[in-house]
């Protein structure tokens, strides 16, 4: 699953999969601005067939958090 998230991130941000780690965030990925964040969210939702809680969206600002949140969604369903 982590690789699937990384794949989507690499597509959306146009970066290498290998460069993505737990600490990846807008601080170290230049392309990760607010518009691209929106793109990332909808791309992840589509890929995993989930819908993030709107209150969570603005906080999903690093790889680890995204990973945990998606896991929770998948477990719940």
């Amino acid at each position: 699953m982590e690789n699937r998230i990384k794949k989507v991130m690499s597509d959306v941000f146009d970066i290498d999969i290998e460069s993505i780690n737990n600490d990846s965030s807008p601080d170290n990925i230049e392309n990760w601005d607010s518009l691209k964040h929106m793109n990332l969210i909808v791309a992840l939702e589509e890929d995993f067939n989930i819908e993030f809680d709107d209150k969570d969206i603005e906080n999903l600002l690093n790889f680890q958090l995204i990973n945990l949140t998606i896991k929770e969604h998948i477990v719940e369903n």
Partner: protein, 563 residues
């Protein structure tokens, strides 16, 4: 296709396309940044090197003054954001304020179109109230607003402007999946990724028609495509014409779409239907090029493209067979193909989708006369050229023959094949189940049946040979038309020869009995190396010295023995 894949593939295509840029600017009063990659991608896959830029948020009028050097301008002007929160404020506006708002937008419309009058193409979405007027019984104010503005829009647009009926896209997808209100309240994006995919698919033909990439010719198979049934098998009287489909085709023909036929049939049979079948809507005069013969469809489609002198990427091909569609997709990927849906009632919907590919911005008189022009130009040059490498495709199919010998469990299907098969049938001898049972039990007769499968599936029992070792003869040889065009017949002949050798035969006799329908196999035995020794009336006699048999040695068809 997934959004993240679109983003990636779009990026990859950007580096590949060498064509001049096709510049699209999207002006909007909502956030539409997610449309960029989707619009670019859908055009880039059609070799239109699109480059989309998005105007400032809620700056349609100001941005329209700055437009220059673009190919197309697209405007998303959403009523719900004419003023912030319009969707709920509108109901409490005084009548005067409502009228002021209407007048203000009309004025802005005038300004925008005045600024854009030099642009080559402007697309503007119809104002929509669907999203915020979902289920109210009375005619709501937002509905009144959009109706009035749409009416105005239609009255003022110039020739370079096309109105896009966005409600058609929303209703196709449902309102729920077209929008994402989470982002509307937080960041003024309204539409979902699904919406953009559908929307740009919908308007794509407009862009394509301005770039010359539009489809020009629509090519049909005949059996189970223009009518239900197989003409060569079921006969003139038993085919059922697809009236709705033919009316839709006729409409396209009248708009100047070039209609052609590409069918494995006897040409005179199809001509007879075109001329004399009482239910036919399409007639010979509507059809520009007819490739009705027994050549493979790849060669026929190539020669249609040459005859018409238009590129393969201008062709659309419709056939009922997954084999033919797969062949064309593999060998001629530039041709857009559609397979007749298994559910007959869905065929009409599919044809309407196909029609959209032939969208043309300006319809001229010349279009309507095009058929006649094309027809004169060609007068059916019936050259038989075999181009393209069909062998590669056949190899990719993983063809497998399963051979059954004297199998009592298949008696009824075998009898049925002798009764129903007309085209690839050398002697057309009809047998009942009882006849077949006797043949199976007769030690001097060998009943060899084959079933054929490929990666598209199993076609079931589709071939039959009856070997008479008493008379050293092939009594019956037939193949269902479902499996023709794959060189199965030659492999089958190898099998028959092997059986004959095992029976210690030296010479094998065979005959071709001519009927109205089996013309395509008139020279089959000669193609297999038999020598014609006699011809009386409708019957040709052949023989073959088995040691001189030269197998075609077809490696891509495997063979197994059935249980």
């Amino acid at each position: 296709m997934k959004y993240s894949e679109i983003i990636r593939l779009n990026r990859e295509l950007e580096g590949v396309l060498k064509e001049t840029k096709y510049k699209v600017v999207i002006l909007s009063n909502i956030m539409v940044h997610q449309s960029k990659e989707i619009c670019e991608y859908l055009l880039r896959v059609e070799s239109v090197n699109a480059s989309v830029s998005i105007g400032e948020y809620d700056n349609i009028v100001q941005d329209s003054t700055k437009i220059q050097d673009v190919n197309a301008v697209l405007i998303f002007w959403e009523a719900c954001n004419f003023i912030d929160g319009l969707q709920y404020k509108i109901n409490t506006l005084s009548e005067k304020d409502f009228q002021n708002l209407v007048e203000k937008i009309k004025l802005e419309i005038d300004l925008v179109f005045n600024n854009l009058k030099e642009a080559p193409l402007v697309l503007i979405n119809k104002f929509t109230s669907l999203v915020f007027d979902q289920f109210s019984l009375p005619i709501s104010r937002i509905n009144k607003l959009t109706s009035e503005l749409n009416f105005y829009l239609e009255s003022v647009i110039g020739e370079n402007v096309k109105i896009v009926d966005i409600d058609k896209v929303i209703s196709r997808l449902s309102i729920k999946s077209s929008i994402d209100l989470r982002y509307y309240y937080s960041s003024k994006t309204l539409y979902s990724i699904n919406f953009y995919k559908k929307y740009f698919e919908y308007i794509k033909p407009i862009f394509l028609s301005t770039t010359g990439k539009i489809k020009k010719a629509l090519i049909f198979d005949c059996d189970n495509t223009l009518w239900n049934g197989v003409l060569g098998e079921d006969g003139f009287d038993n085919i059922k014409i697809y009236c709705e489909i033919q009316h839709l085709i006729l409409h396209l023909a009248k708009k100047g779409v070039i209609i052609c036929l590409c069918s494995k049939n006897n040409p005179q049979d199809v001509d007879n239907v075109l001329e004399n079948h009482p239910d036919m809507i399409l007639r010979d005069e509507h059809i520009v090029v007819k490739k009705v013969n027994w050549n493979d469809k790849v060669s026929n489609l190539k020669s249609i493209s040459q005859d018409l002198n238009i590129g393969l990427d201008s062709l659309v091909f419709i056939d009922d067979s997954s084999f033919e569609i797969g062949l064309v997709n593999t060998e001629l990927p530039a041709i857009k193909t559609f397979q007749v849906p298994a559910k007959e009632y869905e065929y009409g919907l599919m044809m309407r989708e196909v029609s959209n590919l032939f969208y043309s911005l300006s319809q001229t008189k010349e279009d309507a006369q095009k058929i006649q022009i094309y027809k004169k130009q060609f007068q059916r040059s019936e050259e038989k050229e075999k181009i393209g490498n069909i062998e590669d495709y056949l190899e990719s199919l993983c063809l497998l023959l399963i051979v059954h010998v004297d199998d009592l469990s298949q008696v009824s299907r075998i009898a049925q094949m002798t009764q129903k098969t007309n085209q690839f049938n050398l002697t057309t001898k009809r047998y009942t189940e009882n006849d077949i049972r006797k043949l199976v039990e007769d030690e001097f007769k060998t009943v060899i049946s084959i079933s054929v499968s490929d990666r598209y599936g199993d076609s079931g029992l589709t071939g039959l040979a009856i070997l008479d070792s008493d008379k050293s003869a092939i009594d019956t040889l037939l193949l269902s038309c479902r499996v023709l065009g794959r060189n199965i017949e030659y492999k089958f002949m190898d099998i028959i020869i092997d059986f004959a050798k095992n029976k210690d035969l030296r010479v094998l006799n065979s005959q071709y009995i001519k009927t109205m329908k089996n013309q395509q196999v008139s020279d089959f035995y000669e193609r297999c190396g038999f020598i014609k020794v006699d011809e009386v009336d409708n019957i040709s006699q052949y023989n073959l010295h088995l040691e001189s048999y030269g197998s075609k040695d077809i490696k891509y068809i495997r063979m197994e023995n059935g249980k």
